[in-house]
Assembly symmetry: C2
Homo-oligomer: 437 residues x 2
């Protein structure tokens, strides 16, 4: 099937990530999309540097964005320049030329989305913007397609990683805002001019987009209430904690009988809520629908490859939807029927994971030596251990061991030998352990 | 635009929920889908009872499933009978008749998915099954469409609410399995014969589906390793806790160089992980992709309306994808362009939420009376309060109050009056508080 030709505007962090992911996972993506998606042109500021870093594989690199949006061979334009201009002009030109557009530009969508979507509608063109909110979390898709049954009641999200990192650090370490901001800047989590992030403007851009797709209203960024975290003190974070709350910078949009709330501000939320425990640069969005109840979506909200994940998902979506033939629908099993794999399912003995082992042993010398010798002989190493005191009047003690990763068949062999020890009574309890890191 | 006619097989919990949601949110769903989606036929066991409960609005109720799948006016058949037969025969018959199918039947998909998808492929028909895994959480869509850029590394999920409820209760209350199971049965969270849930079979059905779409392999339910929670003791839950872990029944599927792991079993996971804190009947699925990193999806995994949420989302998807015209694509703002709403954005003064107020006051009689009088006069009621001891050598104390929901303009008025009190020094700190319940 004919490949889809993509033109990139921008090859910075997200542009580079997009190219990298498309190249690295080309086979996997083609198995899913049913055709190759390849970047054939890219417009950058520094052509020489981009050629050195990303040249080859038939990629034409230019410093003229107009050349990309006007090129007759380009099917989809991906706008990753950021900011309002020239992004807006180039996107509108791409649409005028009948090219579909994918963008990660939240400011552009929040401020000029109404104009852009109207132009796209006129031309029968798609403008996809999953990467504009929540980085790699498919939150636009979840609300726009996954929850179509629902009357959405409200959306509340941690949608700016920089401020969530700062708030997490202020709480963890009891440090004041200024000091943590400096640390975030040193780590590259905050920009030299951090205003957009810390004053809530970036979050308000994203919230404006979420509000529009949740309630079916136009983009109204100018009506968003925006309050940042720069005035927040560590005392208030501590008092909130004492009362059972965490402070997060939330974007909240809610439907009421009087109208729609659209607001970004530091917010106390009960510490037991899952979203209160989203730490560091991670993002999470809570969506309340009348049928589904509360659902939560969590993941990395920024960074080269997480954002590229959303950009490429949009490319696959546009590829599928732009072609009317049934062969380009979402395949039942995510991959095209002729691209299914015959990788074998592993028998349990060959599974590698960590283990919790509990055994009941007589409290006498040498027991632990016998057990640990058996584990060592089978190459099983111990990560943690508890030996409980014997209960009053009992001769036996519980020994609990956590192992490092090992093959299940080795653990089974070890258990058989441990159970055969005279000093161990009854069966060994075996549970598996996953770090999910 | 011509309405889509839906035929339901089954009007039990999920079928009833689907009909209810489609009727209640008809306007919202039409605004999204661009055309009406209406249930015109339903096959049930007890026709009389169903007529009493759901009759009217042009709904034809029959006890003959064949009449639904063979009716020429039906566009989409929704199978909500559960079990393998007659579900399988009816679904295959619907496909043979050229009708798209939506199903919530995990056992059917896990065991006969390969046959069903092959038949659907031959006829150019769609079979959608979002409701088969994770209830209302759009997890199939997230993996199949949202993460297409990624080489998926592993998926780990709490995908059975009954067992998660039992494990949460065992841990919270230190009770043994049998006792909590009996409680779960009394509450309707566990069935009279709980085998499917507690032995992990239901989770293995769902995991089989997740594995297939994550890795592009056929359904291989017979190769899934399945171990339930019925032998789990409260002692092991407590020991795990001491070591910093929670025990959850996880479905895990992982890609390794040797093959694919496919296993359901009780699993220790670090207590600090978000997924370790998913309690009660809630479900959550963690997906690790090479580009996006770890993403988490959380929500209700069962119940009439959460499951109906997924069924209806599939109906909207099939409606959109089955028609080739651009007008039926996913609209940019989730709702059709001519169905956007002009609901106003509320000014902040009209926003109703709870508040955290911190004020610094001189430690003298009557201060608290003055402050609480001001709040009462403005109709603001207090939910919690802390008054801190004055620090050594200081005359002032911090007073922190949490309010119940109130209008922001009333809080602003109260703050103005409180700041005017001679006994209060400096500005009142105001933060908003959301329960997100």
């Amino acid at each position: 099937m004919k490949p889809i030709n993509v033109g990139l505007l921008g090859l910075g962090t997200v542009g580079g990530g997009t190219l990298t992911v498309l190249r690295r996972n080309a086979r996997e993506i083609t198995r899913r999309a049913g055709r190759e998606i390849r970047v054939t042109m890219a417009a950058v500021r520094n052509v020489e540097r981009a050629r050195q870093q990303y040249g080859g594989q038939g990629l034409v690199i230019t410093d003229d964005g107009g050349a990309v949006v006007n090129h007759p061979d380009i099917d989809i334009v991906v706008e990753l320049i950021g900011g309002l201009e020239p992004a807006r002009t180039l996107v509108l030109q791409a649409i005028a030329n009948g090219k579909h557009v994918v963008t990660a530009n939240k400011a552009l969508i929040a401020k000029h989305g109404n104009e852009i979507f109207a132009a796209a509608q006129d031309k029968g063109i798609m403008v996809a913007f999953e990467a504009a909110v929540g980085g790699g979390i498919p939150i636009i898709k979840a609300i726009r397609e996954g929850l179509t049954a629902n009357r959405i009641e409200w959306v509340a999200g941690i949608i700016n990683g920089t401020t969530n990192f700062i708030l997490s650090e202020m709480r963890d370490k009891g440090l004041p805002f200024d000091q943590v901001l400096a640390e975030a800047q040193r780590l590259g989590y905050a920009e030299a001019d951090p205003t957009f992030d810390i004053e809530g403007i970036d979050a308000a851009h994203k919230l404006t987009i979420l509000s529009a797709i949740a309630f079916g209203i136009p983009m109204q960024f100018d009506k968003a209430y925006t309050e940042g975290i720069s005035k927040l003190t560590k005392e208030d974070i501590r008092y909130a904690e004492e009362l059972g709350y965490r402070i997060k910078l939330l974007g909240i949009t809610k439907r009421t009988d009087q109208g729609i709330e659209l607001r970004v501000h530091p917010t106390l939320i009960p510490a037991r809520r899952l979203i209160a425990n989203v730490e560091g640069v991670m993002n999470a969005v809570l969506v309340k629908g009348d049928a589904v109840g509360a659902t939560l979506y969590y993941g990395r909200g920024a960074g080269a490859e997480p954002t590229a994940s959303a950009v490429v998902a949009d490319l696959v979506d546009v590829t599928r939807m732009a072609t009317a033939d049934p062969e380009n629908r979402v395949p039942h099993l995510a991959f095209q029927p002729d691209a299914l794999s015959n990788e074998p399912i592993l028998p349990m003995g060959e599974v590698r994971t960590s283990y919790y082992l509990r055994m009941r042993a007589y409290d006498r010398p040498g027991v632990l030596a016998d057990i640990t010798r058996i584990l060592a002989d089978l190459g099983i190493s111990i990560d943690a251990m508890i030996q409980k005191e014997p209960l009053e009047g009992q001769e036996q003690v519980d020994i609990i061991m956590l192992t490092h990763d090992t093959l299940e068949k080795h653990v089974l062999a070890a258990i058989e030998r441990i159970e055969a020890l005279a000093s161990v009574s009854g069966p060994v309890v075996k549970l598996r352990l996953e770090h999910l890191g």
